[in-house]
């Protein structure tokens, strides 16, 4: 099986500061891959390079055999990589449905088809009943799911999730875990998540990468990684699982 996403020797510096230092990993089609690490480890910088927000100083990122590093966010999305934002960015004055319609219009030119697809996605994410609400009227958990719905409506092959669990209560986290499992299993979407909530990471990820000071310190299956001494001292030590 060839890798869906491969990150090879990617690095990013901001003036003198090395934010991401020669990171390499691959995400296979169909899996859920997690990137964890303490604050300031370079997770978001890495995420932004994959999403096209930042161009790496060195290394390459390829998606389905095509180089995506250095492309614009919209070009990356059109290739099949959708993302969510850590601090959600719904279109506040538009209805929930119209928010998702905009995503659905990426690969659809017919309004009716886009609307049908948007409603299907909303139904999958339990937002169908709220489709006529303004996005600004939603609660945080609902807004997180709207963000996810909008991204999914673009028919991505790969979904990038930037701390999608942040700010959710444990019960809401469990619900989101269930939704993401469904998205991965039923819609066949590969997921790359950056996450702090270990409970969610352990429940979802097939493979993971641990970053510390911009460099990878461990890689592999979650059950092995959490026993790694370096990971425990740098990250998990403060936060038991």
């Amino acid at each position: 099986m060839s890798a869906l996403l491969s990150v090879v020797d990617v690095g990013k510096r901001f003036r003198g500061l090395i934010a991401v230092d020669r990171v390499s990993f691959t995400v296979e089609a169909g899996e859920i891959f997690a990137v964890i690490g303490p604050n300031g480890a370079g997770k978001t910088t890495l995420f932004n390079m994959i999403a096209g927000v930042l161009a790496p100083n060195e290394g390459t990122i390829t998606f389905r055999g095509e180089r995506i590093s250095g492309r614009t966010p919209d070009a990356v999305c059109r290739l099949g990589v959708a993302r969510t934002f850590q601090i959600v960015r719904p279109f506040p004055a538009l209805t929930v449905e119209d928010n998702v319609v905009i995503g659905a219009l990426l690969h659809r030119t017919e309004m009716a088809a886009a609307r049908r697809h948007a409603r299907d996605v909303l139904a999958t994410l339990d937002l169908f009943d709220k489709r006529d609400f303004r996005a600004s009227a939603l609660t945080l958990p609902d807004r997180k799911r709207l963000e996810l719905a909008r991204a999914l409506a673009t028919d991505p092959k790969l979904l990038l999730l930037d701390e999608v669990m942040a700010g959710l209560r444990p019960t809401e986290t469990d619900r989101m875990v269930e939704i993401l499992r469904g998205v991965n299993r039923d819609m066949g979407v590969t997921i790359l998540l950056i996450e702090h909530v270990m409970r969610a990471v352990m429940a979802l990820a097939g493979h993971m990468l641990v970053l510390h000071h911009g460099a990878p310190i461990a890689k592999g299956k979650p059950e092995d990684v959490v026993r790694d001494q370096k990971v425990i001292t740098s990250y998990l030590g403060q936060e038991s699982i």
Binding site: D74, A82, R89, G103, L106, M111, D132
Partner: protein
Amino acid sequence: MISLWRDMNGRGQVAVALAFLVLLFAPVAATRYLLSVLTLILYFVYVGQAWNLMMGYAGQLSLGHALYVGLGGYISAALWVHFGIGPWLGVVPSVAIAAAFGAAIGWLGFRFGIEGVYFSLLTIAFAEFTRIGFDHIGFVGGAGGLFIPYEESRLGEWWNLRGSQVFFYYLAFGMAVLAVLLTALLARSRLGYQWLAIREDETAARALGIDVFRAKMKAVLISSSMTAVGGVFYAFYYNSLFPAQLFDMSRSIELILGPIVGGTGTVFGPVIGAFVLTPLGEILIAVTEKAGINAPGAKAIFFGLILMAIIYLVPTGVWPWLSQRLGFARRRS
């Protein structure tokens, strides 16, 4: 268009149909003065709608739309006066040149990340230096103005836009109706939704695969082209053009007041806005004259106060408030 109709309930549809019929048959009953006011209103509906596409939908604030009115007017008038090229043909180069100016502003603004108020300043700058430029172009009369000769014998030459008040009324009416239909069509199109996304959150729009630069360029091109057509109408309706009048900042402001008062980002906002503001101006002139208030600027002060009151009372515009009050919007199931 069909969706515009379907989104309204029976009451809304009756109201719109009635308004359409009243305007269609207005020349039967209206006096010449009333007809001239209605013509002006419909002209403002048209240009207001053109501006609304760019600001209300795509979220790009242009404060220099007088630029496109002026270019459209001047180019078509010059072609007619100097070369005898009629406006129906002259509208093509007028629109092309106005669109080229729009493209230049858009390219500078959107390519180099001149956003928000700075973009607005850019639009003002273009209108201003074009005004100064036209002051010095002798070919179009410079600051002394360009005049389209008014010849009685030519009246009725609709193919040269020479006609009576009724003729210009129906021309403005047709343009206003087309502008409303075009807005309704665009608002429910893929491009319309891309504009809304950009207006609401550009970063999120980009993350959903929208080519933001392209969508914004389309907005400025469509808006400037439409506005230039309004300029052609203006030139042949008023027959006299002065740079200080056409390109002036106050003309840009005048043009956008209607949609702002009526409600930006709505199909009927610019319509209601024009129907509120233009008669208000006329009424104030009559009232201040009757009351014997001759102080210069008295009308403008009252106009400003009423404008403030409207914006304070219905900040999102008269149309959203009105359509809700009168129960025009269909509840979506």
